[in-house]
């Protein structure tokens, strides 16, 4: 699926749509350069789970949110993982981050997912690529791994 967003609100809306189809165990992998709207996308996504205080976890790498899944009327834990700082590690291969990325009882959102090695990508993943077209416009590509397989 491909979208072009020309406002922050539109990016949040696209993310919100994606959020409606998420369930526990899903991993959303975000790819895109600095300023491409990854954090905006995460905000839009989390808002669907009634989580408002979304901030960049670049420094702490991981934030844990306790939200609510409205369609299923159930509690929902979200791990917001930002691997930006780990670039010079080259790749993330296991370690304690793996304990979160492979947790089946939470929704995982990973910014800068290109820092992950292939074996760190869970099977049920949705890849989202954000590209800067110009000052305002962003191209958003969503690839749903599970759908592709069918």
């Amino acid at each position: 699926m491909k979208f072009v967003s020309n406002t922050v609100e539109q990016t949040e809306q696209i993310a919100g749509k994606l959020a409606e189809n998420l369930s526990l165990g899903d991993t959303v992998l975000l790819y895109g350069s600095l300023g491409s709207g990854k954090t905006t996308f995460v905000k839009g996504l989390c808002r669907k789970f009634l989580i408002e205080m979304v901030k960049s976890p670049s420094y702490v790498i991981l934030k844990i949110y306790h939200g609510k899944n409205l369609t299923k009327n159930d509690k929902c834990v979200i791990y917001h993982i930002d691997l930006y700082r780990l670039e010079q590690m080259g790749q993330i291969n296991g370690g304690e981050i793996a304990e979160y990325i492979f947790d089946e009882n939470a929704i995982k959102i990973v910014e800068w997912a290109d820092r992950l090695s292939e074996k760190m990508l869970p099977e049920k993943n949705i890849k989202v690529k954000l590209e800067i077209i110009d000052d305002k416009n962003r191209k958003i590509t969503i690839i749903n791994q599970t759908e592709e397989d069918i």
Binding site: E99, I101, R115, S117, K119
Partner: protein, 244 residues
Amino acid sequence: MRKSRFIWLPLFLDTLIMKILSIDTSTDYICLGFGINDELISEISLRVPKKHSQLLPQLVRNLLEPVTVDLRDIDIITLSIGPGSYTGLRISTAFVQGLALSNENLRTVCVDSLTVYAQRFQNCKETVAVAVDARSKAIYGAVFDVSDAHPTPIIPSGVFSVKEFVQKLNCFPKIILMGNYANKIETSVKTILPNDFAIPSPRNLLALGYQEVIERKFISAENLEPKYLRDYIPGKAKVFFDSA
């Protein structure tokens, strides 16, 4: 380093009465055992995913109070040192270090976490394979010969891809499979999957720990460190989308 007071230990430790606390947090469970020498007196195994650090102190209390033992009276800790969940292992390691800081006479022995599963089948004339989830599409695996009183590793604890481990298992005529990944392993070999395959037993942990005590393989608190089996080293990037 802190000076440890000289403690007199008799030449033959098995003539001594020792109170031993065994701890395993390498999986989703907290497994605790209290024993006098090699005899298990009480035990607790509880599934507490991501809540080990919250519940460990209370469970230690719950273990010792009914048998009217004060934590201060514990002489030896048997610590299941890994491989397993990094966070889980670090919780029990830090906890044991906190205990050691509080009691200079406390001594610690460490036991390989996968060997604990195999210990259950001692004197069985079987081959026991253990597979524990290592996340990121890998397992911690080992294979043991258990015909003796204590398991002898045929393949020592290591990190394997599932495929790699299955290939190794296919060389054996028959295996007993243990560990929290055991039910997901598919082999061509005749396999027995026991009940409770996923839970490390405090009884077996104590048995192995007591053996270490007899052999005086004590580890000082500052040298306690989980058996990670993997260095945390950068690999090479795989880029799915080239960044703008």
